[in-house]
């Protein structure tokens, strides 16, 4: 489940600080950062931070997870307030209460642990 460390380290600005690319031409926000806009093909991109609040677009519930992970796990696609789309786990959420369009916010949590190396990252928490 854990990411290889070199990959994780290179992606850490996105994983830790939610760094994304915004196209200066068409305004599309892409997460994680990219070099070419997926909408218009422009290479004129700037770095922005993704908004911290959004709504669930779709989700799935997994009742069998790898060792050490919390079950059941809810994995969701979330559209943030600025239009960026992120995928990630939900936390502090009962599978019974999750629904499409539920407002969530980004929090920093433990994602996994392998060989004692803890991997941190973002998760979504229902706004209460």
């Amino acid at each position: 489940m854990a990411t290889a460390f070199p990959d994780f380290w290179r992606l850490s600005p996105s994983i830790y600080r939610l760094e994304a690319s915004k196209c200066k031409k068409c305004g599309k926000i892409m997460f994680p950062t990219r070099k070419i806009c997926i909408e218009c093909g422009s290479t004129d991109l700037e770095k922005v931070e993704v908004a911290r609040k959004g709504k669930i677009v779709t989700y799935t519930i997994s009742y069998i997870m790898p060792r050490g992970a919390e079950t059941p796990a809810i994995y969701a696609v979330v559209e943030m307030e600025d239009g960026a789309r992120l995928t990630g786990y939900l936390t502090e959420c009962d599978p019974k209460e999750v629904k499409v369009d539920m407002p969530v916010e980004i929090v920093f949590r433990r994602i996994s642990e392998e060989e004692g190396r803890v991997e941190y990252g973002y998760k979504f928490r229902p706004i209460r």
């Binding site: 060792r67 433990r110 994602i111 803890v118 941190y120």
Partner: protein, 367 residues
């Protein structure tokens, strides 16, 4: 020729004479999960029904994740950008690593630059105030403009222990952004008193701390050390107990018993202490390094301009006392963060509590 100074002569260094350092913003994080203390007593069939509750970190929370949320709250409150921080000092006794700094993780998340000083302070519940002293010194020396000081801890008590640790040890985090300008509370000065006193300790292989709680450790540990640190602060800054409106401390194992005995020794009344310490004692519990800073945040939430706060930490034979004076700028930055977090809660039962603190491992079948 050797000169012996009488032991009561303390060199007078007044911080108020030099450049100022103070709190620009503060934030806390208190986990949403709570367990009622009566549920713990019931699980062990104890013949008592203690009032109150304590916080429990969620399954995927630890000292680092809580510190991040507190730090982000503090930076937002201070109205600065993470890249302006010159120091990220973290005090914790429950880092997930023995070797590897957690301040680097927190600094990356809040966006501090790679050249900012990132230091972990550890060893006792006083580590967060040791970090605070270091940061005040760094700011006063002109080395950094803004510094972030964090106290964070997840204290894991041994299940069913008879010292009552299970009724107090909890989790939480608090963060302060320190700076020179637009400060909401000035740190006027500090004093330390420490001896080699062993009362709560954890060996390398231990998952839970060990304690020796006796009348001796109460009188000569917590109470004596905090008393001496506070008295040396009074002397250093030429202050009287009546100059202080509030007093906050690291939560002792039995808050009411300890603090009521401590208060008259440092010239305070229960009213000074109750305002800041009651939310901690009733709703949060002892969250180690974080507890004194959360109590300070609770007082800053309600303090008025020009009121003075006495803050004293204690951890395994070390105590730091601070005099903090609230400035007029606090009214513009008024927040009620501690109450907001205290009111957000979900109660969990005892088996869930054990699972969240990873005190038992799930068995997996072969699949």
């Amino acid at each position: 020729m050797t000169f012996f100074l009488p032991s009561h002569v303390i060199p007078v260094i007044k911080l108020s004479d030099g450049p100022k350092a103070g709190i620009v913003g503060y934030g806390v994080y208190i986990p949403w999960c709570r367990i009622k203390l009566s549920d713990i007593a019931e699980a062990w069939k104890l013949p008592m029904k203690p009032p109150g509750e304590k916080t429990v970190p969620y399954y995927d929370e630890d000292a680092v994740t809580m510190a991040v949320e507190a730090a982000l709250n503090a930076i937002k409150h201070a109205k600065i950008d993470g890249s302006e921080l010159g120091a990220v000092y973290v005090g914790t006794t429950s880092s997930p690593y023995l070797e590897k700094q957690v301040s680097t993780i927190i600094a990356e998340v809040v966006g501090a630059s790679a050249s900012a000083q990132r230091i972990d302070f550890t060893g006792s519940a006083r580590a967060s105030t040791a970090a605070l002293i270091a940061c005040v010194n760094a700011i006063r020396s002109g080395e950094v403009n803004y510094g972030l000081v964090i106290g964070t801890d997840v204290l894991v008590p041994p299940p069913g222990d008879r010292e009552g640790m299970e009724f107090t040890m909890s989790a939480g985090a608090a963060a302060l952004v320190l700076g020179k300008d637009s400060i909401i509370a000035e740190i006027e000065g500090f004093a330390t008193y420490s001896t080699d006193f062993t009362e709560r300790w954890k060996n390398v292989e231990d998952q839970v701390p060990r304690v020796s709680l006796s009348r001796f450790s109460r009188e000569f540990g917590y109470i004596m050390h905090v008393e001496k640190a506070c008295k040396s602060l009074y002397e250093k800054l030429n202050l009287k107990p009546s100059d202080f409106k509030y007093a906050v401390f690291t939560e002792p194992p039995d808050p009411r018993g300890y603090l009521m005995r401590l208060a008259p020794k440092i010239g305070l009344t229960p009213a000074h202490i109750m305002a800041g310490m009651m939310p901690i004692a009733q709703f949060i519990g002892d969250c180690g390094c974080a507890s004194v800073l959360i109590a300070l945040a609770a007082v800053l939430d309600m303090a008025k301009p020009r009121e003075r706060i006495l803050m004293a930490s204690y951890g395994s034979g070390c105590s730091d006392a601070f005099s903090i004076k609230v400035t007029d700028a606090i009214e513009a930055k008024r927040q009620k963060i501690v109450n907001t977090y205290i009111n957000k809660k979900t109660y969990i039962d005892y088996p869930t509590y054990l699972r969240f603190l990873k005190l038992y491992q799930m068995m997996y079948g072969m699949r």
